[in-house]
């Protein structure tokens, strides 16, 4: 009986680790979203250039998440920049009066902001987005592309 209990615990740890790995892999994908009114305006390169500061945004609101986990993923996978490089890029834009990013605390805050601000672009984890798709929402933002 004791051996059986140990076996159950070990299997539990094993499957738990598998489940965590699955969640981690899903979280590593990032979905770029925008307000439905602006869906057709932005290509992948344009979004990249908006975030690295080489494309003038006009009044486009570019969102940054203060959640460091997903922000690092976004910088690393899509922008291919370090946090220090992005901090320098944003500092140049902010302190020369060009523009400043709007900040969202997490995936939900990003979603709420993009829904209510036309010409806004943000990023959320694909895992979060998949959960959102299961909910009825007529004003849901649209997907520009997914970063894997």
């Amino acid at each position: 009986m004791r051996k059986f209990s140990c076996l159950i615990v070990q299997f539990g740890f094993f499957f738990g680790a598998l489940a965590y790995a699955h969640l981690s892999i899903a979280y590593a994908e990032i979905t770029i979203i925008t307000h439905p009114a602006t869906k057709n305006q932005w290509t992948e390169k344009q979004v990249h250039d908006l975030y690295v500061g080489t494309l003038r945004a006009g009044q486009v609101r570019v969102l940054e998440q203060t959640d460091s986990e997903i922000r690092k993923e976004f910088y690393d996978k899509f922008l291919q920049k370090s946090e220090a490089q992005m901090k320098k890029i944003w500092s140049v834009l902010i302190f020369s009066g060009q523009r400043a990013p709007s900040l969202a605390a997490n995936n939900q805050a990003t979603l709420d902001y993009v829904k209510t601000h036309p010409d806004s672009i943000g990023y959320v984890s694909s895992q979060f987005w998949k959960l959102e798709l299961t909910k009825p929402d007529k004003e849901r933002p649209v997907v520009l592309f997914v970063v894997k």
Binding site: K45, T54, G58, Q59, V92, F95, A100, S102
Partner: protein
């Protein structure tokens, strides 16, 4: 008169935006620098000798940036900076004077893709001019002083119009500006002032991911005010400050060309600038006032960035400080975190000047250690 109207309009609009959007979308960001610098030599003939002891105030400053986005096409921007206003003041009497470095209103026209700024703006004379107070954005303690002194002023009041376009997949931006006013000029005690009139200029930037080409051309008229102290004969002895007005005839033209490359681990900055004075009575006569350049080479080793900068400037025989200057700077930066960088510097400055007011020839060595951060 026009400049005053421009400033008043910008101030009114900025105030209106601030009131209307106070509870809404106002973004606050800040920056700070703190440095300690010590001279290693006391060559009395050098222009660059700071004297004995450690100077804590020359490069120490704090700034606050405010931005309000109003409706779809309007925004208001302002930057407040507190820094020592004199490079000649001693540690015992730094003249800290917080004030608005710049403030302007921006209108973005989606139909024409033009961006229009009205108000007080930083003069875009160099690669880093528009964010010159934010040390985190560039590798040096400050832009090489020999090169920086060629730039005529820091800010102006007026209008600028910018358009960005796509050129073979890279971003080309053209900015035309004009105005005048009382710019933040060279830091002295008390500050020299100059009235800038009829400023017009253009700035071209071509940039991609990790690189940037920059060029600026501007021309203007100037009346310069220079302080002069006269000691009074009766005790207690005091100095009476007199202002000498020197109207510089002709048109001053300034041209700058620069490049920045920073990709993978390699970092390169390089700029060239020259200024000319055209006499009004001989349109095609142009006298060179100053010219200079600098080059910086650096390489990222993880969080460390060692770099070397050579700078040279030559000032015309008619210039107040005629002669030439050069410097060698060895720097080592350490990125503590994305918002904070620690910088160390060993600097050798050599100058040879002789004419008019100042005459000097010497070498100065100094070390500096400081920190730059944004918040």
């Amino acid at each position: 008169m026009l400049r005053r109207i421009v400033s008043l309009v910008a101030a009114l609009i900025f105030g209106m935006f601030s009131l209307n959007t106070f509870a809404a979308d106002i973004k606050l960001n800040g920056f700070a620098s703190a440095y300690a610098r010590a001279s290693l030599t006391e060559d009395p003939h050098s222009l660059w000798t700071d004297g004995k002891g450690v100077n804590y105030s020359n490069d120490t400053k704090i700034g606050l940036n405010l931005r309000s986005d109003y409706e779809e096409n309007w925004s208001a921007n302002a930057q407040l900076v507190a820094a020592q206003k004199s490079i000649l003041a001693t540690n015992s009497s730094p003249t800290w004077a917080p004030g608005f470095d710049w403030f302007f209103v921006t209108y973005d026209d989606p139909a024409t893709d033009l961006s229009i700024n009205v108000g007080r703006q930083l003069f875009p004379g160099t690669l880093t001019a528009e964010y010159v107070d934010v040390g985190l954005t560039y590798p040096w303690r400050r832009l090489p002083e020999q090169f920086a002194s060629i730039q005529p002023f820091k800010a102006f009041e007026g209008v600028s119009v910018q358009r960005q376009m796509n050129l073979f997949g890279q971003a080309l931006s053209i900015r035309v500006f004009g105005g005048g006013g009382r710019p933040n000029g060279f830091d002295t005690v008390p500050p020299t002032t100059a009235e800038i009139d009829d400023l017009i200029g253009t700035r071209l930037n071509l940039e991609g991911d990790g690189w940037k080409l920059h060029s600026t051309y501007s021309q203007f008229h100037v009346v310069q005010l220079i302080p002069s102290y006269t000691a009074t004969p009766t005790p207690p002895s005091n100095s009476t400050l007199n202002i000498i007005r020197i109207a510089i005839p002709g048109t001053i033209r300034v041209f700058t060309l620069g490049a920045h490359y920073e990709k993978e681990s390699l970092m390169i900055y390089s700029e060239y600038s020259q200024s000319h004075l055209s006499e009004t009575d001989a349109i095609f006569t142009s006298r060179e006032l100053a010219k200079g350049y600098y080059s910086t080479l650096g390489y990222h080793f993880g969080k460390f960035l060692p770099h070397y900068t050579y700078s040279y400037a030559k000032f015309d025989a008619g210039h107040l400080i005629a002669g030439h200057e050069k410097s060698h700077a060895l720097g080592l930066n350490y990125q503590m975190n994305p918002s904070t960088v620690v910088k160390g510097e060993y600097l050798i400055q050599e100058d040879t000047h002789g004419a008019l007011v100042l005459s000097s020839e010497g070498t100065a060595r100094s070390v500096a250690l400081g920190i730059n951060l944004v918040f």
